[in-house]
């Protein structure tokens, strides 16, 4: 397997231009996602979904500014969300057809020619990333531009990103770069700067796409401590096995007592 590739999204330099959303749709030829004014700051995309593989979140935070007594927004957080390409990917674990598979770049990709739209991956994802596209019937999500990577190209979103908020590269290098960046931001007084999803020790074994955030994950719509559901699968099977045996036993129990039917003799 080739070197593990990933995304490092540094939200501290995101200008919320949404080039990532458009570049992604142009390359992957994704249909539009409807024309709805959401009145949630500048976010009219809402969330990741079958037809949205990059989503820029906008969070306006108010505090009294300068000496002015009246409150006004002094911080406008912007962050481009994407599939995390987990080390332990629930969507891949639960996919019954093998449509979802792990590539040589250690990314997680859906094969549109295989997916039969069973929908199991949808509630399995702890980040609410993958979804089934109505009408099309299949599940879709970010492929980290698998086809581009096969040609040695970087993903469309990372290439377009004007301020390099979205960085693509070997995951190990990105993790080092991220550590340096967060250290520097903290040194510059930005105490709230933190990395999200970069630790191999987290509930999904570390994400292939991780982030530098300036506030708690849930503020960006991200789960604070996601855990891959299949971590508990062995236990689940044990409990289910016990239940199956109990059921069999219970049924047997119900047949105790003399046969009244007069079976074939």
């Amino acid at each position: 397997m080739a070197e593990r590739m990933g995304f490092f999204t540094d939200t501290s330099v995101c200008i919320g231009c949404k080039a990532c959303e458009v570049a992604c749709k142009e390359w992957n030829q994704i249909p539009d996602d409807g024309f709805v004014f959401e009145a949630t700051s500048y976010d009219n995309t809402g969330m990741l979904g079958a037809s949205t593989w990059r989503h820029v979140a906008f969070i306006e935070q108010s505090r009294p500014v300068l000496a002015g007594d009246d409150e006004g927004v002094d911080r406008w957080l912007m962050s481009s969300d994407v599939c995390k390409h987990c080390t332990h990917a629930a969507c891949l674990d639960v996919c019954p057809t093998g449509a979802l598979f792990r590539t040589e770049f250690d990314t997680v990709v859906v094969q549109a020619d295989i997916c039969n739209g069973c929908g199991y991956c949808v509630p399995a994802c702890p980040y609410g990333v993958i979804d089934r596209r109505e009408g099309d019937g299949r599940a879709w999500k970010c492929t980290m531009c698998y086809d581009r990577q096969l040609g040695g190209l970087e993903p469309a979103c990372a290439k377009a990103c004007p301020t390099d908020s979205i960085q693509f590269g070997p995951l190990d290098e990105l993790r080092e770069r991220a550590e340096e960046r967060v250290t520097r931001l903290r040194a510059d007084g930005n105490e709230e700067a933190r990395l999200y999803g970069e630790s191999p020790g987290d509930g999904v074994g570390g994400a292939g796409a991780f982030f530098l955030l300036l506030d708690e994950p849930e503020v960006y719509g991200l789960p604070p401590d996601p855990v891959v559901t299949t971590r508990d699968l062995p236990a689940m099977w044990r409990w289910a096995g016990a239940a199956a045996l109990s059921a069999a036993g219970a049924v047997a129990l119900a047949f105790l007592g003399p046969s009244r039917g007069g079976g074939r003799r």
Binding site: I59, Y120, M236, S246, R260
Partner: protein, 339 residues
């Protein structure tokens, strides 16, 4: 309209405009819940058929064989219809994946429907009865699995109300399956021959009820969706029907009317349970508080010296969150955030 405040009180639950973190299950009604019912009914019916065969109860044996075969094949059909691309149903057997309850389940269901069909044909046509009986005996294994794997299927998701319930759900499903199968068997078999069926139904009703009680107790806050909204109504109805039907089943031997009443009540109860469980999952995923609050508590607790990540630990914390007054408070704040 800005939801963020400079200083965030510990208790305050934050989210992104109140939007869900998770994607709710896309499975449609009535397909999925009805399949859960049919699969369970088929599985338990196989068990009944096997026992009936072993204990020499041909009438009951036949009814159960038919119920098992019908349930499995009907269920399979519903599953196919549920798919976004039904024509690709066979892709379910493209691969075998132990980490996917649906993959494992597909192979189990394939076996169950094949074997139960063979068992039924053997019995009805009398052709190669030995082969039919062999198939029947095999369903003694696939049946109970068919009845319980679906609990793992729903539990093995990120949906808090489902995942956190992975201990009790298999018993709840098994109980519901026995109740359903018992009900069909007693309805389809002369009363004189249906004694064991009534017993199975009663035992199933009891198992389901107890498992449900234990589950909701343990889940606390995360279990809220089982008590509230549409899911709450469905599950309360299920509880009443199942308990009532179970008690009736005990005495149903006395009259046709009682049998019919019990059978219908238990069938309806089992269906309500399946619809309720699915609806609860949807509600649980749709409200970010069920995702965020337990995880936030887990993190906070982890930052104090305590083992991190251990699911039991998580479960206990989730419970705390529920019994904690912050729960509803948090929900209130979420709606503010959304508006």
């Amino acid at each position: 309209m800005t939801r963020e405040r400079a200083v965030v009180p510990e208790a305050e639950f934050r989210s992104y405009y109140g939007r869900p973190v998770l994607k709710p299950p896309v499975w449609h009604e009535p397909h999925m819940p009805t399949y859960l019912y049919l699969g369970g009914m088929s599985g338990a019916s196989s068990a009944i058929a096997v026992m009936a065969r072993l204990t020499g109860r041909p009438r009951l044996d036949r009814t159960a064989r038919v119920a098992a075969a019908a349930g499995a094949s009907l269920g399979a059909a519903l599953l196919a219809a549920e798919l976004g691309r039904p024509e690709r149903f066979l892709n379910m057997l493209r691969i075998f994946k132990p980490t996917s309850p649906m993959s494992v389940g597909s192979w189990i269901l394939a076996a169950q429907s094949g074997l139960s069909a063979a068992a039924m044909t053997g019995d009805l046509t009398g052709v190669l009865p030995a082969a039919g009986d062999a198939a029947l005996l095999a369903t003694g294994v696939t049946g109970p699995l068919t009845a319980t794997y679906t609990a793992v299927l729903v539990a093995d998701t990120a949906v808090p109300a489902w995942h956190e319930a992975y201990r009790e759900l298999p018993f709840l499903f098994a109980g519901s399956a026995m109740a359903a199968a018992g009900a069909i068997a007693m309805l389809g078999t002369p009363r004189a021959h249906a004694g064991p069926a009534r017993a199975v139904a009663a035992l199933g009703a009891a198992t389901e009820t107890v498992a449900g009680e234990v589950m909701e107790r343990r889940l606390g806050f995360v279990g809220e969706p089982y008590r509230t909204g549409r899911a709450g109504r469905l599950l309360r109805a299920a509880r009443a029907l199942t308990v009532g039907g179970g008690l009736l089943a005990v005495v149903a031997g006395r009259s046709r009317a009682l049998t019919a009443l019990a059978g219908v009540a238990l069938t309806a109860g089992s269906l309500c349970t399946r619809f309720g469980i699915l609806e609860a999952g949807r509600a649980s995923a749709a409200d970010p508080k069920y995702t965020v609050v337990p995880q936030r508590r887990r993190l906070d607790a982890a930052s104090t010296p305590a083992p991190d990540g251990d699911d039991l630990h998580a479960g206990r914390l989730t419970h705390d969150a529920g019994s904690d007054s912050d729960g509803p408070h948090a929900a209130h704040l979420t709606r503010d955030a959304g508006s």
